[in-house]
Symmetry: C2
Subunit: 110 residues, 2 copies
């Protein structure tokens, strides 16, 4: 477990400038990160609820990601499960319109 999670202001994989966008690109370039956020766009989910929602992600990676996302201030664990912080919800909002682009993409590559 040698991973150091990307945060703005410090060097990340592939960039030493500390530019926030580079930290973001590194963060979302990890498997499951966006998917986890995505599955939490509606109601909060428990650890095991997330496992199912993500199609059987292994608990070790899920736990790693949840720690990462909490440390990055994008997720919180509250009474009824994991849920995005306001900041995380803002990021999520930026990704929501991608469903529409993805549909278009689907038509193009078909």
């Amino acid at each position: 477990m040698k991973q150091k999670i990307p945060k703005p202001g410090s060097a990340v994989r592939g960039s030493t400038t500390g530019r926030p966008i580079m930290a973001l690109l590194d963060l979302v370039g990890r498997r499951w990160v966006l998917r986890i956020l995505w599955e939490l766009r509606g109601a909060p989910l428990t650890f095991r609820g997330l496992q199912e929602a993500c199609g059987g992600i292994s608990p070790s990676v899920l736990n790693q990601r949840l720690s990462d996302l909490r440390e990055a201030a994008l997720l919180d664990l509250v009474d009824d499960g994991y849920t995005p912080t306001p900041l995380g919800r803002e990021l999520l909002a930026q990704f929501t319109p991608l469903t529409i682009w993805a549909e278009k993409w689907a038509k193009a590559v078909r």
Copy 2:
């Protein structure tokens, strides 16, 4: 090299539904995918130009990603280097505002 690149309409890692958004989440969840697109947002770049721009990405992975992105109809290799397709440029446009969010994020986690 057992990777099968995610495309809308077929099963991807973590989802068997074929929903386009799932293919997208799988695609961008691979290392370097977004970064490569990002570095091509301005002028086209050659293979080696991309290598440098991405801070020394190994050529094997770069080549893998370039093939993936070309097969996904997001990238093209033209005379003066790799450049996004119109579709890829559209996707890129959705990610551009993330710089602003990332700045906000930087302030929040600091």
